[in-house]
């Protein structure tokens, strides 16, 4: 068994441990009942909501164009001068004299965009693989899962870096693709697990016995019920995506275009100033940590809430 298979099995267990079949709406309802009072969830959800809101309204909040080197005259390579906080620029500027606060604000949008797009792509790819494998089983399943296992047996960051390195031009797009590629096998394997569980479940058998068309068995009965753990995982993956994107930037594989800021990239390019101007790194890093924490909190509490063992 490959470690990929092992990792895969863990995902399978995860898939099994959340039997939406017997739970379904009631599970969702009771989960929601417990979530509403769970401080962990509330904190996480609060963070995410604030972050999402910020991302939405940031163009209004940002006082300056983040690409403009408004404070360029205060920048000096020779004296290692970087604009300090000043009226109109509460956090000062970055190493090119661009307004730090505006960059952080607009950065929230871009960060969310990268994480979300990557996760959606990963989810999409994973869904496709998972549906193929889970819905048809048999050799399709075997084939798809072997590919997934090989992908899972390469350490994730390595895979992301490898994919990122494939592109001639580094852009936000390549970061998204690299991060998404890492997620595809995870989602694929997970969804396959839940789909297979659904396939064996009585209500799917019942639909089939009724003579419902195979297509609608898969899409109306199996898929909706199989999505629960996948959605939980997706929440956690958003955190991972944000951090992975930052790691790629750190390794020099981030987007080369810095005119539209993104936190991971801001953190990556602040490396050189860590000793002398730590604020350049602290602000984006702090944002990343808080938001990643938010997604992790929500994901973990969702997972816990959906765990049937915790259900009374």
């Amino acid at each position: 068994m490959l470690p990929g298979t092992r990792r895969g099995q863990r995902l399978d267990e995860l898939a099994e441990s959340t039997p939406t079949t017997t739970a379904g709406v009631s599970l969702a309802a009771s989960a929601w009942r417990r979530l509403r009072r769970n401080p962990t969830f509330l904190l996480g959800a609060g963070i995410i909501a604030a972050f999402a809101l910020l991302a939405l309204v940031s163009p209004l909040l940002a006082a300056h164009d983040p690409a403009l080197r408004l404070l360029e005259d205060q920048v000096s390579r020779a004296d290692n001068r970087i604009p300090a906080p000043q009226p109109g620029f509460p956090l000062g500027g970055d190493q090119y004299g661009r307004p730090l606060l505006s960059r952080l604000l607009i950065g929230s949008q871009q960060t969310l965009l990268v994480a979300l797009t990557a996760t959606v792509l990963g989810l999409g790819g994973g869904l496709t693989l998972g549906i193929l494998a889970g819905a048809f089983g048999g050799w399709v399943d075997t084939l798809v899962m072997r590919v997934v296992d090989v992908l899972l047996s390469v350490p994730s960051l390595l895979l992301a870096v490898s994919i990122g390195a494939l592109f001639q031009q580094q852009s936000r797009f390549t970061v998204i693709i690299a991060v998404a590629t890492v997620q595809i096998p995870v989602f694929g394997r997970l969804l396959r697990g839940t789909m297979l569980a659904q396939r064996a479940s009585d209500h799917v058998l019942a639909a089939r016995a009724l003579g419902v068309r195979e297509r609608s068995v898969v899409f109306r009965h199996m898929l909706p019920n199989a999505l629960g753990p996948v959605i939980v995982q997706a929440t956690l993956m958003l955190a991972v995506a944000i951090i992975d994107a930052a790691a790629l930037s750190f390794l020099g594989l981030g987007s080369a275009d810095t005119s539209t800021p993104e936190w991971g990239q801001m953190l990556g390019s602040a490396q050189d100033f860590f000793d002398t101007h730590p604020q350049l790194a602290f602000w984006p890093a702090g944002c990343i940590i808080v938001v990643a924490l938010g997604f992790t909190l929500v994901g973990e509490s969702l997972r816990e809430a959906l765990d049937p063992k915790k259900r009374r």
Partner: protein
């Protein structure tokens, strides 16, 4: 074991190197990290005077050339021995020249014998003509080198580290020429990896690849002044900020190429930041290949007017950087100051563009990622600044970025980049080493082939190089420089940035070299 930074074992100087030395045979090397190490162990016939790019006697005490500049006689220093005890004499010198000339197989590849090919051209029985003809040893103290034509490079080029004189016995014993192509690269000889043998103030002691460090020890039998420290350690630290942190935390005594952003704070904390005289050039290259608009001189002039070089130097380059008017610094021959100037003038730039019929030309502007260079410490910052300037002049800039080794270099070298950022650090004091390399051929970064002036420029450069008389040669180069700025303008020179070298306050005697060719034998470490 002795953890012997200080104390009874004597003094050790630990230097943070940015990269692992590829090998210790300088002939096959072309990178600074390798030369930095071999330079401490080996010497050439001529050397560079500390702190300058001027040559001075080294293993040869003096030399003269024939009238036509093809026959060079070197009088060798007496009583010098290689580290293995082999005596240094004319035989040894000729053995080295013959070894270089008679390279076979992979040894002829530019990936290995870069400087030979650059300086001397071809090898024995090669279709490429070679500058080298023969070497004779009329007596032990005299070596005579015969060239096929005169060249401006001689004898300065012999100061290049690649042409260090190495022990013929050791080279033979450890098979110095046994390089093999293996897979996608070369495997070096045992000599190059473990037994480099020269005449310099330090001897090779060990190379610990797992700890990424090279240790040299003082050559107690050195002919000149003994080295100031017992041991010289090169610790490889690829990451620039890690080098700085190591210096701050006392792990190393000095390092090269500090981030310009750190200079001020390093100085404040009491470290010795030594800024070298600039011996490099950053230019904005222009390719004649793909974009027809760029074939128009007025468009190129507009580019030159558009860039605010003053501001670029101040905001993006380290202290001591200067705006460049020519393609090489003023310490090099043939420098003139009365060339066409292109002051920052967006208005004029727009006017020129209009005149040329390209009021808003679209131009691909290439810049590299994953790299810093002494002449280009922050490519992104430089790109951003220039791109802004160009946009201001109405040029539609289409940015293209590639990793330095991931396509940038290869594409630029094939002339694919319309406008690009690149530069050059000089090897020795000769205009040919700069503009000869840039424009001496028509099929290169600038792809001057289709330009009516491309061939002419190349021919003029070759003629100047061949001119044996220094006076008229200097005149020829001055002319070329003037025309380069006014008529050809194949690129826009931007700036000369002085690379700095930092040491802890305990380090004394380090003389920074414009060629970044410091000798550490003068260094002393205070405890």
């Amino acid at each position: 074991v002795q953890s012997q930074r200080q104390g009874d074992g004597g003094d050790t100087f630990v230097f943070g190197a940015a990269g692992a030395p590829a090998l210790f045979d300088p002939f096959y090397a072309s990178d600074g990290e390798t030369f930095r190490v071999t330079r401490q162990m080996m010497e050439g016939l001529v050397g560079f005077a500390p702190g300058t790019a001027e040559i001075e006697p080294e293993l040869a005490t003096d030399w003269e050339s024939s009238e036509d500049g093809t026959r060079w006689t070197f009088h060798l220093r007496e009583g010098v021995e290689f580290h293995d005890g082999t005596p240094f004499d004319a035989e040894a010198v000729c053995a080295n020249f013959e070894r270089w000339y008679h390279q076979t197989g992979p040894g002829r590849n530019a990936a290995l014998s870069y400087y030979w090919i650059e300086t001397f051209g071809g090898f024995a029985s090669d279709e490429r003509p070679s500058l080298y003809s023969s070497c004779e040893a009329p007596d032990a103290g005299t070596a005579v080198i015969e060239l096929t034509r005169p060249t401006s490079k001689f004898p300065d080029a012999l100061g290049l580290d690649s042409f260090s004189i190495q022990s013929p016995t050791a080279m033979e014993k450890y098979g110095a020429d046994e390089v093999r192509a293996r897979g996608s690269s070369f495997e070096y000889s045992e000599y190059a990896r473990k037994h480099p043998t020269g005449t310099g103030p330090f001897e090779f002691a060990s190379h610990d690849e797992s700890n990424q460090s090279v240790v040299l020890e003082r050559n107690e039998d050195y002919w000149g002044e003994q080295a100031g420290v017992d041991r010289l350690v090169f610790q490889v630290i690829p990451d620039e900020s890690v080098r700085k942190q190591e210096l701050l935390s006392g792990g190393i005594d000095g390092y090269d190429y500090p981030n310009p952003a750190d200079l001020a704070s390093l100085r404040e904390q009491g470290f010795d930041v030594r800024v070298r005289d600039p011996f490099n050039i950053l230019y904005m290259g222009i390719s004649q290949r793909d974009n027809p608009a760029l074939r128009d001189l007025r468009v190129r002039q507009a580019l030159a007017h558009a860039v605010d070089r003053r501001n670029l130097v101040e905001a993006n380059l380290p202290a001591g950087a200067e705006v460049a008017e020519l393609f090489y610094p003023d310490s090099v021959d043939g420098h003139v100051s009365d060339t066409a100037k292109y002051p920052h003038d967006p208005e004029r730039a727009r006017e020129l563009l209009r005149e040329a019929g390209h009021p808003n030309p679209e131009i691909e502007f290439w810049w590299p990622t994953q790299v810093t260079r002494p002449y280009m410490p922050d490519p992104r910052g430089i790109f951003n600044a220039i791109a802004g300037d160009l946009r201001e002049a109405g040029i539609r800039v289409k940015p293209v970025s590639k990793p330095w080794n991931g396509g940038y270099i290869s594409d630029v070298n094939q002339g694919k980049a319309q406008v690009f950022l690149l530069g050059w650090t000089g090897d020795y004091n000769s205009p040919d080493n700069f503009i000869g390399t840039f424009f001496g051929s028509t099929n290169n970064q600038f792809y001057t082939e289709p330009a009516p002036w491309g061939g002419e420029l190349a021919d003029r450069l070759e003629a100047a190089d061949r001119e044996p008389d220094p006076k008229s040669r200097e005149r020829m180069y001055a002319e070329i420089n003037r025309d380069l700025k006014s008529e050809y303008l194949p690129a826009v020179p931007l700036a000369h940035s002085p690379p700095a070298i930092v040491t802890s306050p305990d380090v004394e005697g380090l003389v920074p070299s414009p060629l970044t060719a410091e000798r550490f034998s003068t260094v002393r470490v205070e405890n």
